[in-house]
């Protein structure tokens, strides 16, 4: 009986994993362009960074993992900015005022942008907050990570170094 239960749970787990793997992603496709207003009031267009490696981090004030991920990304930015890395933090928070307040308190060295229309979320097929996407110099999505747990930044660094070498 125990074996049967074990087999059933394994099958269920495998099915869940396969369904998660089948979730639509932009890997290997051109990253959709966007233009958004930043915390400093400037508008930034993603395609203007073509030729550089771009890391887009979708974050939300209410996502606890974002609070851990943003400082980690800030450390990466201070190290790799000069090597040609651009980090863009995109808030998908509906409450713009509170998102701005949160962003101001984070005091990061990379631009934090605000998407109030939720169109970009659809285009980037956001599944869960936070979500991080790495775009190569030619504008193609090469890596994506849903959620954030301690240690993920090491995977980011591996991919960033690889893309910067290309």
């Amino acid at each position: 009986m125990r074996r049967l239960l074990l087999a059933a749970s394994l099958a269920l787990g495998a099915a869940l994993t396969s369904s998660m793997a089948a979730a639509p992603t932009l890997l290997g496709k051109s990253a959709p362009d966007f233009v958004l207003k930043g915390l400093d009031g400037r508008n930034l267009r993603m395609s203007e960074f073509r030729g550089q490696v771009v890391l887009v981090n979708f974050w939300a004030r209410w996502a606890g993992d974002s609070r851990e991920e943003i400082p980690a990304l800030d450390r990466i930015n201070t190290t790799y900015q000069r090597a040609g890395l651009v980090i863009l933090g995109v808030s998908v928070d509906e409450d713009l005022a509170r998102a701005r307040e949160f962003a101001g308190a984070m005091k990061v060295s990379y631009p934090l942008l605000f998407d109030t229309g939720a169109d970009i979320g659809k285009e980037y097929m956001l599944q869960k907050m936070p979500m991080t996407i790495l775009i190569d110099r030619s504008g193609v999505v090469r890596y994506s990570n849903v959620g954030f747990k301690r240690g993920d930044e090491r995977a980011y660094l591996d991919h960033i170094r690889e893309l910067l070498r290309e």
Binding site: V35, L36, K37, R42, N43, L44, R45, E48
Partner: protein, 225 residues
């Protein structure tokens, strides 16, 4: 030329290009086969190596004589092949251009086409941030300008901000401009135009200029007849 005839001509040209590619494929293979032939030649002397030494002498000298001839032959062939490929590439670019024009003609036929352009002159009293366009009270475009794009406009660039279709008749266009005005204050102004859409394409220009006398920016919509 009517769109239908153009479609047919483009399809015919596409087919001709495809035939040309297929025809090019043959020389490529023949070039490969001729290049493969000398490579096969040394195989014979190798098998002949089992025969007495006197017999192997003649075949052993043959490949070096054949090799320079084989090495000289492919470049001329490849040169002509390269020229043909270049010609085909040019044809593809021409075809692509025709398709682009045709697509625009089909999606936005002249009798319904309306195109909006944005231009900016001087810009001392206004730093452009965004433009929102409404036609007949329906928002058709909201465009945020990056610093680079605003600079391009200041340098004389003209941006096509919208291309769409409108029925023949009277229409109203309202454009809202937001940005930083004089003394770096947030600034939002609107401009309205009522226009008649005739059977031809309609071109409208959203113009941002400086009114020096009043130290204020000026927003206008020009109807290009």
């Amino acid at each position: 030329m009517s769109p239908k005839i153009r479609v047919v001509s483009i399809i015919v040209r596409g087919l001709l290009l495809a035939c040309a590619w297929a025809a090019l494929g043959a020389p490529a293979f023949t070039a490969a086969s001729t290049a493969a032939a000398p490579a096969a030649a040394p195989a014979a002397p190798a098998s002949a190596a089992t025969t007495p030494a006197s017999g192997t002498a003649a075949p052993a000298q043959a490949p070096p004589a054949a090799a320079p001839a084989a090495a000289d032959a492919p470049p001329t062939e490849f040169k002509t092949l390269d020229q043909e490929v270049q010609g085909l590439k040019k044809d593809v670019i021409d075809l692509n251009k025709d398709l682009f024009v045709l697509e625009e003609e089909l999606l936005f036929p002249a009798n319904t086409q309306v195109a909006l352009y944005v231009s900016m002159d001087v810009g001392t009293f206004f730093a452009l941030d965004s433009v929102t366009v409404k036609i007949d009270n329906k928002e058709v475009k909201n465009y945020l300008y990056t610093a680079r794009e605003a600079d391009a406009l200041l340098k004389g660039g003209v941006q096509q901000i919208y291309l769409g279709n409108l029925k023949v008749g009277k229409h109203e266009l309202v454009a809202f401009f937001t940005g930083k005005g004089p003394t770096d204050r947030d600034y939002k102004r609107g401009a309205t135009i009522n226009f008649d859409k005739g059977v031809g394409a309609k071109y409208l220009e959203l113009k941002i200029t400086d009114r020096v006398a009043k130290h204020q920016p000026e927003f206008a919509i020009k109807d290009w007849e």
